[in-house]
C-alpha cells in the first residue's frame, strides 16, 4: 500500500489530500472538501491534467494580445505543446469571451477559447 500527500489545485482553497494506492490503483481519497478534489487527486497520481491559460496575438484589437484557455484540462506533459501551438495563432478583433481560438489544440482533442472581450 502506497500513500501520497497532495495539495489540491482545483481551487485556491488548496485542500490537503491523502491518496492511498495499491498496485497503481487508487484505493481511497481523503481530505478533499468537494468532488472536484477527489477527481483531481485520482488523476494526479495516475495521469495529471492541467488547464492551460495563455495568450494569442490579436489583429485590429485595442490590445495586441487576447487571453485564452483550454476549454477543459489537457495532460500535464502536453502543456508546453499547447502553449507552442498558441504562438502560431492570430485572431482578428472583435473577439468575445467563449469564441473558439483553436480546435483540437496540439492534438489533445481540446478546444481553446477566448477569455477576454476586445471589441
Amino acid at each position: 500500500m502506497e500513500t501520497r500527500e497532495l495539495t489540491c489545485i482545483r481551487c485556491p482553497i488548496g485542500c490537503h489530500i491523502t491518496v492511498t494506492l495499491e498496485n497503481g490503483e487508487v484505493q481511497s481519497v481523503t481530505g478533499n472538501s468537494c468532488p472536484r478534489g477527489e477527481e483531481y487527486a485520482s488523476n494526479e497520481v495516475t495521469h495529471p491534467m492541467r488547464t492551460v491559460t495563455s495568450l494569442v496575438r490579436l489583429k485590429n484589437g485595442k490590445r495586441p494580445v487576447v487571453s485564452v484557455k483550454t476549454q477543459s484540462d489537457v495532460p500535464r506533459e502536453k502543456m508546453m505543446d499547447v502553449v507552442k501551438a498558441l504562438k502560431e495563432i492570430e485572431l482578428t478583433a472583435p473577439v468575445k469571451i467563449g469564441d473558439i481560438a483553436a480546435e483540437n489544440v496540439a492534438g489533445t482533442g481540446v478546444n481553446v477559447i477566448v477569455t477576454s472581450n476586445d471589441d
Binding site: 495563455s54 490590445r63 495586441p64 477569455t115
Partner: protein, 430 residues
C-alpha cells in the same frame, strides 16, 4: 456647491467596487456612481488571465477577465453609472456628514461630487524595490511581478529571458509559469521567510510542474549590472532574516521580479482621517464594514489583502448592502459592543468590532496567522466562554482563515448583561 451628486460614491471599479455597486443596487439604491482610474472596469482581474476564480461565487472555474466580465455585465444590465479614466484625489466631510469627493479626468478636469456614503474599494499596490532595501545598482530589468504581468498579458511584451523571482507571493508564482510559457527561463524563486507567501496550489502548479526551485529562507543580497541586470547574488538567511556569510550564490539573469507583498492603497482614507490598522494597513471596520468615519465603508484589498477574489466579492457585497442601509437611515440599535482581540499567533481580524444590534444572523470574521502551524486548533472565546474550537491540520500566513460568528449564540451568552462592552478573543491553541 458640488459639480455632481450621487447618493453612493464607490471609489474603484475593480472586483470590490463592482460587487459593492451590484449589491447596493439589489438593495434598491438607485443613485450610485463608480469612479475608476483605468480605461476600463475590472481592475487587476483584467491581467490575471490564469484560472481559479469564481468557484465560490459562480460555482465554476473562471479566469480573471471572465470573472470580471460577469460583474461588469451586472453593472451594464443595471445601468449603474461609472466614470473611467477618473482619478479621485481627495475625500472630505462637509456639513451634516455629507461626503465630498474630489476627482479629475481628461474630459472634465477637476470636479467635486457630493454623496451620502462612500465605499473605499481602491485595492492594493505591490511593495516596490525601494521598500526592500536590496543593495546594488538600479539597472533596467527589475520589475514588480504585477508590472511584468501587465507587460506580458496586456501589452504582449516580454520583460526578459532569464529570470529570478524574489518573494513567493501569488503573483510571483503565477508569473514564474507565465514567463516559462512565453519562453523565458525562470532560475528560481527566493523567499526570505521560511514559508511561502503564496498559496500551496500555486507552488504545485506554477513551480513544481516546471521544476522551478523555491528557495525558502533566501534573499537577494546584490544586483549586478549598471544599465541592465546582469545577475543577482542570493544568500541564505538565518532565523533573524540576516544573510549568512559564505552562502552566496550568483545567478546570471537579465530580469529580477519582485513579489514581496501587497499594501492596501489608503492615501485617500488617511487624508479623510479614517483610523487605520497598522497590521493590515487597512481601515479598522465594524461588522458593517464601516470605518471610523460614519458612512464610509471599506472592502476588498484596500481593507486587507485577500487570497481569493471570491472573498473580495462577498465582502464587497456586504459593504454595498450596508451602505444602502446607511443611506436609508437604517442602522438599527447598537446593542452591545464587542471588541475582537487576536492573540497567540492570530495577527489581526476583520472586522475588529461588532455592534450586536447590527450583527447579521451569521458574521464572517477573517484573519491571518503569523506563522506555519500544523495540527493545532483555532479557539474563539466570548468574555472567556469558549464559542468554538476548530481543529486545523495546517494554517499558514499565505492562506486567509475565517470563522463564522452566530448571532443567536452570541446573544445567548450576552443576554441580560448590564455591561455594554464585551470581548471576543481568537487564538491558536494546541
Amino acid at each position: 456647491m458640488a459639480d455632481r451628486k450621487a447618493e453612493l460614491i464607490i471609489i474603484g471599479g475593480g472586483p470590490a467596487g463592482l460587487a459593492a455597486a451590484a449589491s447596493a443596487r439589489k438593495e434598491g439604491l438607485q443613485d450610485i456612481l463608480i469612479l475608476e482610474r483605468d480605461t476600463r472596469l475590472g481592475g487587476i482581474l483584467n491581467q490575471c488571465i490564469h484560472n481559479g476564480f469564481g468557484l465560490h461565487t459562480f460555482k465554476e472555474e473562471l479566469t480573471g477577465p471572465e470573472y470580471a466580465a460577469r460583474f461588469i455585465k451586472q453593472i451594464e444590465d443595471e445601468k449603474i453609472p461609472y466614470m473611467l479614466d477618473t482619478m479621485v484625489i481627495d475625500i472630505s466631510e462637509g456639513e451634516g456628514g455629507i461626503k465630498i469627493v474630489t476627482a479629475m479626468n481628461p474630459k472634465e478636469g477637476l470636479f467635486t461630487i457630493e454623496g451620502k456614503a462612500v465605499i473605499l474599494a481602491m485595492g492594493c499596490r505591490e511593495r516596490p524595490r525601494g521598500a526592500l532595501n536590496i543593495p546594488g545598482y538600479r539597472p533596467a530589468g527589475i520589475y514588480s511581478a504585477g508590472t511584468a504581468q501587465y507587460y506580458v498579458n496586456i501589452e504582449g511584451r516580454m520583460p526578459g529571458k532569464k529570470v529570478v523571482i524574489l518573494g513567493s507571493g501569488d503573483i510571483g508564482l503565477i508569473m514564474a509559469r507565465r514567463m516559462t510559457y512565453e519562453g523565458a527561463k525562470v532560475l528560481c524563486v527566493a523567499e526570505l521567510q521560511p514559508y511561502s507567501g503564496g498559496l500551496k496550489r500555486n507552488i504545485v502548479q506554477c513551480l513544481d510542474d516546471f521544476d522551478i526551485p523555491l528557495l525558502l529562507s533566501h534573499t537577494v543580497v546584490d544586483i549586478k549590472g549598471k544599465k541592465r541586470v546582469e545577475g543577482v547574488t542570493i544568500a541564505e538567511v538565518d532565523e533573524n532574516r540576516k544573510p549568512i556569510p559564505g552562502t552566496e550564490v550568483f545567478y546570471e539573469c537579465d530580469t529580477l521580479l519582485l513579489s514581496c507583498g501587497l499594501i492596501p492603497e489608503n492615501e485617500l482614507s488617511n487624508k479623510l482621517g479614517v483610523k487605520m490598522n497598522p497590521v493590515t494597513n487597512g481601515a479598522f471596520v465594524n461588522e458593517s464594514l464601516e470605518t471610523s468615519v460614519p458612512g464610509v465603508f471599506a472592502c476588498g484589498n484596500v481593507l486587507h489583502v485577500h487570497d481569493l477574489v471570491d472573498y473580495v466579492s462577498g465582502e464587497a457585497s456586504l459593504a454595498g448592502k450596508n451602505a444602502a442601509a446607511y443611506i436609508r437611515g437604517e442602522s438599527g440599535s447598537d446593542g452591545y459592543l464587542i471588541n475582537i482581540k487576536t492573540e497567540n499567533g492570530v495577527r489581526y481580524s476583520v472586522p475588529t468590532t461588532v455592534r450586536t444590534g447590527n450583527m447579521p444572523d451569521t458574521l464572517t470574521v477573517r484573519f491571518r496567522v503569523g506563522n506555519e502551524y500544523r495540527d493545532t486548533n483555532l479557539a474563539v472565546y466570548l468574555d472567556g466562554k469558549q464559542l468554538m474550537k476548530l481543529p486545523k491540520r495546517v494554517m499558514a500566513p499565505g492562506e486567509m482563515e475565517q470563522i463564522i460568528l452566530v448571532k443567536a449564540k452570541v446573544n445567548e451568552i450576552l443576554k441580560d448583561s448590564d455591561v455594554s462592552e464585551h470581548e471576543i478573543v481568537i487564538r491558536v491553541e494546541d
